[in-house]
Amino acid sequence: MNVEISRRRFLQGSVALSILGGISLSSDKLFSQESKDGLSGEKKIEDVPFLCAMCVNKCAGFARVEDGVVKKLNPNPYFPKSRNMLCPRGNAGIHTLYDPDRLKYPLVRIGERGDGKYKRVSWDEAYKAILHGTDKFKGILQILDEEKDNRSTIGYCNGEGLSKEGFEDLMGQKIGTPNYVDEISICLETTLAGYFNTIGTYGEADLNNCDYLIIAGANRAEAIITPDTMDMFKRNRGRGLKMIAIDPRYTNTVANADRWYAINPGTDLAFVLALTYVVLKEDLYDKDFVAKHAVGFEDYKKHILSHNYTPQWAEKITGIPADEIYKTAVEFMRAINPIYYQGRRSVFAKNDFQLRRAMAIFQGLSGNLDKKGGIIYGKKLKLPKEDINAPMYGQAQERFDVSSVAIPSGKTGSWILFRNMILEGTNPYPVRAMFMRKHNPMSGVPNTTKTEQFLRKMDLNVMIDILPSDTTMFCDVILPEASYLERTSPVASYGFLEPAIVQRKAAIKPLYETKTPEVIYKELAEKLTKPLWKNTLKYDEDVQDDTKGMNAGDLEKYYKENGFDLTDLYEKTVEEANKEKVVKAFGEEAWNILEEKGVYYPNMKTYYKKINANTSEYYPDDKKFYTTKKDKLKVIMNFKNLAKKGVDPMPKWHNEWAFEVPKGQFRLITGRHAQFTQSGTTNNIMLRDLIRTNYLWINKDVAKKRGIEFGDKLEVKSSVGKINIKAFPTDRISENQIFLLHGFGGSSEEMEFAYGHGANDARIIEDKVEPVYGGAVMHETNVEVRKV
């Protein structure tokens, strides 16, 4: 069924709802609005600076608010990162704010898990249900009592965003569990780690001055990253930036590139090793730079040459002709400012950490680091950090999921290993509750069947979110959060070439009965703090020793001084804390500028220049932070300590990484489009007009042979599950590969616009992990496809 709702009618509807809820507009305001419209036509119009949260980029904008209703989101010209633009999702944010399917009130489960039966409750009742449970599920107090105050029996997860740190502080630092998983291990963990461990930064590619770009497995036309996307597509194709795209698919980025090589999935490392071979064999690298900054260059040279990573060798693995590899290597080193683009995406193959190391080293061989046109380190404007008085819990235990990986990330762990160990029962102690926020592992973590089993295994699931996602529908207590346009968020600092401080301000008050995340954290802390403290006193021997014989007053003092008082994080509101931090670091005037423009950086008043309607200059060229690392810059080619962890100290190809697909099967690859962000935006009616569903890309010739035509229903089956999806035969993909967009095919019927459209890739992606950090490997699943 097609549901058409006009925006006008829809906005009217939302206003009416909020009036009924008594939240956003009082009744006398409603009347005054009517009289205004009727008589003078005057409206109260405001432009409120906000930071977008439709994806991770945090582009800046101004929300046009008319009489308490957000009518239009406009780009903010002052932010050097987003450079006066909003993408389709940024523009459509209004329809996330006014999404009729939003979580509007706290809910408590009254049916069975997953059947969608909930009762609307007050916030107090919701907190009470978290503490004490109901007849359907256990509360956190009972769980911690049964587990003798082992705080680690609580797990938590959170997706990316400005309020994430606050949730980590509450759950990790104050409540005291180490069992945290987030988006990093299903995203770019190995990219960051590979670069940090090699050149000391992930860096920023200076695409305004770069003249030769290899962009591999990164689709900047469709997976928009600011400012990279804006910069690179203004200078490509004969305009100063030569772009070589490496991708199994013909993407919109490929459409804008000078050359394209359709590489076999998962073999980028062989490509980079062969480029490196050419450069070392023919002495094309920057000798001065290498002499000054490389660590272990001679070892690396010997390693690459002795392994014979020749272009001919790489051709067999990657499918890219040897002479093209040779040509690319030579062109790269002859360019003045070449960049092998770092990329920023999920782990595609098990060798991803080594791939990133090899890329960073290759960049190092060009010498194009820490300078104009290269990968720059830049500068970050420092904001004061608040100390957290974190209590010590004697009964809490260490996290267990990363014990099998080489370099455990203590903070964020590995989603797949965490989930699977709990399912398999190989965890040394139970994890019985999940506190979740703005995260949808049912769609994001490979093997949805296991994620569902994991959620069903918990005694208590709590969700803080704005929409009833697939994961939300497996939760026992649901706390509705204010969306990004309804909240002022902790002030943030954006670093690199043109650093700035940015602030998201609430355009309107929270709709319905929603609350901002920071208010929810505060109230949770207030409700939990004393009952949990009593549980600690009951079981924690260290605390018992410390507090033996104390009177009530001393005990209270001990509780506060040692951080057991969970509420001490929330003495200031977000607004107060923001002001205090900014004034302390940059002064009162900086705060005033930030409040008005949403952006501040030192000397902004003299530096910022509007060049024309489209373009602004943020920093004069000689004030940009092109070179900041100088003599401290190191390129670690031979990383000997890695060997101690069982990891190759120098990037090396292993034959088991070769691309192989059994006859008749296909390699599954996934990716993104510019018009949506994962599952979170699929219910947005404006974006739905642009992309309603996902299709299965299948090679045209293969489709023809199999009698598959556009729109035919296909079943795609892997070892972990199957999906049904419509066919899109195309020239843009190789014969033994298929592609589908990630994020569609949700199972939550409460997301009415998204439900029933497309297929969820996580249902068929096998849950494989890469061995260094435990990141989820997305492109190593072979599937069968048949017409149904």
Binding site: S6, R7, P75, I94, R220, N252, A613, D689
Partner: protein, 224 residues
Amino acid sequence: MNYAMVLDYQNCINCKACEVACKEQNNVQLGADKQRIWVGQTDNVIFGNLFVNFYPSQCNHCLDAPCVDVCPTQASHFVEGGLVLVDQKKCILCKGCMEACPYDARFVDDERVAVDKCTFCYDTRILKGETTTACQATCPTKVRMFGDLDDENGDVIQLLKTRKFFVLKAKEGTVPKLFYLVPENDEEYALQSIGHSNKIYTWDEMSPIIKAAKAKRSMQWKKS
């Protein structure tokens, strides 16, 4: 005043930010086929190689607009600045203008029960003092530049004087006002997408055509 739009279409990545900004700004009816602006796509295989090229588009606000001529109720009309607008109260949905438009720039707004199309944000932005259209302002790669062909020092004229450009369907003779800049160092790119027969202009060649068309039709421009 003679409003026009210059498009550095080589920058386009087909993200469709412009389409959403337009819909939000102008309360355009929802629906995938209800678009005042769109991103056209050339999809070809040339000598065995895939070739894809994007050209964003919308109403050309033709100086010699056939849609205005065919309208029986004067719903389609010119206003000051040479903009072509639709007075939706007068529209009887005969759809003659939709037939007459060479660019397929018009569609039926089922809610207002009238034809709808791009206004260059005249009512929603320009009359309120803004100097950009919503599609221009939001574009990540800054494809569009909106401005006045009569303003010799304006950005639009500066671009047209320094760059070569083409218009879509020049042969229709409607004197359209979307000017597509020819990629500076990659003319082949343009030719592959628009065809080798399409005429490429300089401002010296285009200027008299515009002058003549304006002289012919500007008496019809209604004062707003």
